[in-house]
Symmetry: C2
Subunit: 514 residues, 2 copies
């Protein structure tokens, strides 16, 4: 994998200085064209060995292009904020929007590599991390991103020479630490793990570019050329357009039986009974959230359901029970301009709560496979891949003890009509009902199909869907609260049994590569 990057590549000063002016102009022009209206972001990952010139490469990109439209992210030790969330959170919050360039010094590869070299994880764990990286990158590319992966390499001899040279020069001495020399001693282990990384994550869409880091001129020119050619190639192609093959059709519905039909919609509660149970479960929920182990977990509650199914009311019955500082309700409407410039999951990632908290989504990422599918806001190929992308997303939450609780609030067509009419009659409820609600109603059957596919393809034992019979609001609210309590209780038991200690250093480090 490193053959061509250990040859001793060199560019003479005269050639270097001759080529730079035109190259810089070309880079600026490409960046400008990108910024003016290209429908894709550029993500540049800079990885490689210590002393191989990663920092210089990042500086170079900022120097040779317009730094106002480059976002640079040094991914060093994660902050407390970041450690409280799935590891990918820190990358999601740093993704560049369409038309911009994001440069990552360190990436989702950094910790899987370090943990493997330091023996904190096994080969199989590394393979799992790399399989996830492949899936993540496939998603980014499918969402339109141009991903440029630069790997700076040095031979063992070169690394030693370079560290010594840096140490000798008073201006760069600070760059070399004891850690660098420690890592140099582990050169062979690093090289073996790096090879695995490059082998398993070089794909046709996002291949690694392995660059010899020894000679500054060669490295700079090569990096600049790779970036320029990749952006230019992509700008030219975007005009031409890709035609995606349509995905295979999903399950036919042959008998008239489907999931939502099996719900017993007649279930209800009397007001007195409701009040009693409400108090019981609200008290319980409050207690659970003050459990000593709750600070090791967090809760993501997802509310989806028919229009007028009572999502808001159910959510209020939860929030009234708990400390106002410990939760957040995120209502999801049409995406903002900023959100539309990002992969669709971005606007949900940004809201993931810290440990010890709850985040309630009033509608969610499932919009992709519900409204966007039914209304044709995205192509079939796009919503089809969303099922596995969502499973990956929730999988990351699970691995980091974020409990995902998902509700579909189902009401019958007749009950919805009754509620719509009532809303129109009541002045202070009228704002809740719009033309769009009536239009959605006409697509009732399409939504039924979309809901059934969604449940079948995203309900897992770790993050199951709870279907809530919501024709009777009292019944629905209690079922929501009761399920929430049961799920949290079970999770707390698991945490107690696992003996996980959130402050334990090896566990903390291991979590970095999940």
């Amino acid at each position: 994998m490193f053959e061509s990057a250990e040859l001793g590549h060199k560019i003479k000063k005269s050639q270097y200085e001759k080529e730079i002016p035109a190259l810089r102009v070309a880079l600026l022009e490409a960046q400008d064209e990108l910024r003016q209206g290209a429908e894709f972001p550029v993500i540049i990952i800079v990885g490689g060995l210590d002393g191989s010139g990663r920092g210089a490469t990042v500086n170079l990109l900022n120097e040779w292009m317009d730094p106002r439209h480059i976002e640079t992210h040094g991914m060093g030790e994660p902050s407390d904020e970041e450690l409280d969330r799935p590891m990918m959170w820190r990358f999601w919050r740093s993704l560049p929007p369409k038309g911009k360039i994001g440069v990552f010094f360190g990436s989702w590869y950094t910790w899987p590599i370090l943990n493997r070299v330091n023996g904190i994880t096994e080969d199989a764990d590394l393979d799992q991390s790399l399989a996830r990286a492949r899936r993540l990158e496939k998603m980014l590319v499918d969402e339109g991103a141009l991903l440029i992966k630069l790997w700076l390499h040095l031979s063992k001899e070169q690394q030693k020479k370079r560290l010594k040279a840096l140490e000798k020069n008073p201006a760069t001495r600070w760059k070399v630490t004891a850690r660098d020399w420690k890592r140099y001693k582990a050169y062979d282990s690093f090289r073996a793990v790096h090879e695995t990384v490059i082998r398993q994550t070089s794909t046709a869409e996002a291949p690694w570019m392995v660059i010899e880091g020894e000679d500054d001129n060669y490295r700079n020119l090569t990096v600049a050329n790779i970036v320029l050619r990749a952006i230019r190639g992509r700008l030219q192609h975007d005009a031409a357009q890709t035609v995606k093959a349509p995905p295979p059709p999903l399950m036919p519905s042959l008998d008239c039986l489907h999931l939502l039909k099996t719900l017993n919609m007649g279930q209800s509660l009397e007001k007195a009974e409701f009040r009693k149970k409400l108090e019981k479960y609200q008290t319980k929920l409050g207690l659970l959230m003050r459990h000593p182990k709750f600070k090791y977990m967090s809760v993501i509650a997802v509310f989806e359901g028919n229009d007028a199914a009572g999502k808001g009311g159910a959510i209020r019955r939860i929030t009234r029970a708990i400390d106002a500082r410990s939760y957040q309700v995120i209502p999801i409407a049409a995406p903002t301009e900023e959100e539309r410039a990002q992969p669709y999951l971005w606007r949900f990632w940004r809201h993931l709560p810290r440990k010890g908290r709850m985040c309630i989504f009033d509608r969610s990422w499932y919009g992709r496979v519900l409204v966007e599918r039914v209304e044709g806001y995205c192509s079939p190929a796009d919503w089809m891949r969303a099922y596995s992308e969502i499973n990956d997303f929730e999988g990351q939450m699970e691995r980091h003890n974020l409990l995902v609780v998902k509700y579909w609030l189902a009401i019958s067509e007749e009950e919805q009509l009754r509620r719509f009419e009532e809303r129109e009659k009541t002045s202070f409820k009228r704002f809740k009902i719009t033309e769009e609600d009536w239009r959605n109603r006409e697509k009732w059957e399409d939504y039924v199909q979309a809901v059934c596919d969604m449940v079948d393809r995203t309900s897992t034992s770790e993050a199951p869907w709870t279907l809530v019979e919501a024709d009777n609001k009292y019944f629905a609210r209690i079922k929501v609260l009761k399920t929430m309590c049961a799920r949290i209780e079970q999770k707390l038991k698991e945490l107690e049994a696992s003996g996980i200690d959130y402050l334990d250093k090896p566990q903390k480090k291991r979590a970095l590569s999940l």
Copy 2:
């Protein structure tokens, strides 16, 4: 994942009988259109629980379509032949060619699932197997295959009922064995592993279709509809054509330094020295192949090189040293018609040797990233993905103790010219030189680039490329033999150290899910 497949779906006899005639006609028509000239094969995988009607489903497909153009493969216990090779070999040898339908009863999922349920492997191993399955399926889809994945499911209650019903009926009693009841007891474990499988391997291109297996009418109609709609959808799309996005450009070559240039082409051997060393290494190779542990491994030697670089001569120096029954030389020319109807790796998979043998490829799968790239026989997107597909292919060999030894025989442009002219002058060598050789020579620089990319992207510590300076034939032949001996010797040492026992049952079983 199984929500909709535990509802108790049913189709009434009257509806069933009414729908069948038209459905069968439509299936036959689709099959006929496929056979008449469609440029893709159909691969149908039938997986699921015992007693869920997998066998009946396979029979149904054969009964309702023209069985002459369906190949059915029951993937039960592997044969000795199959155990001697990487597990995927048995699937590759059974892949349907373009225009045909292949039905697999059992698949690459069978053993990863069984081994996990039986505790032979861990969760991480299962994840690795599933990541490989995803990559395999991506490759099949990229190569044009239509992949239909059917999963037949039963609830625990249903499975019990079904096994009892089968047992009660004298005509079907034989279908239920003690193993079935043992597996029924492990229902919950199976269900959990099945969920993981479906979750991780349902992709937009090849989603699982989970079908309730209880009611024969429902199951039959659903399966037939899925197959019909998938084939029809694909036939329609093929006419429309997909436009692939071009991959990003590879590394620019900025200084004039490349791998092949660093070779010391002046190296040579005198004839007497050659004879001495030839005898030494030929003897050694013969001994190594009679080593008691050699029966646990096999050798795949790959010879690539410039035209007239001396591949044939080098190969003969190997084969003369070893038992004629223990090796095979496979010369690779343009693919046959049969081979063109398959994914490009198919024609190499078919030749993989059994344990204890050697297979020598005179040119190989690397043609994809050499001649096919340079001559434009496949698109850039196709040869770009070949690097990781080839790494996956060789990875499977490595995991099964097939040693991969790869040679690039390099000669200089001048030496090639000399040899071409000599060949034209010598009557009995004239057949070796064609117009094509002269044409290839004009593309020398393109080939250099292709070779460097190939080495950089497919040379791994387990399967490194050996660059052979071949201007002097004596030197080249000895380097080839010496490298071969060293690699085999090292592998034998590893086998001895690992204490692997090829006849050990748990190890044999574990290997089935690699």
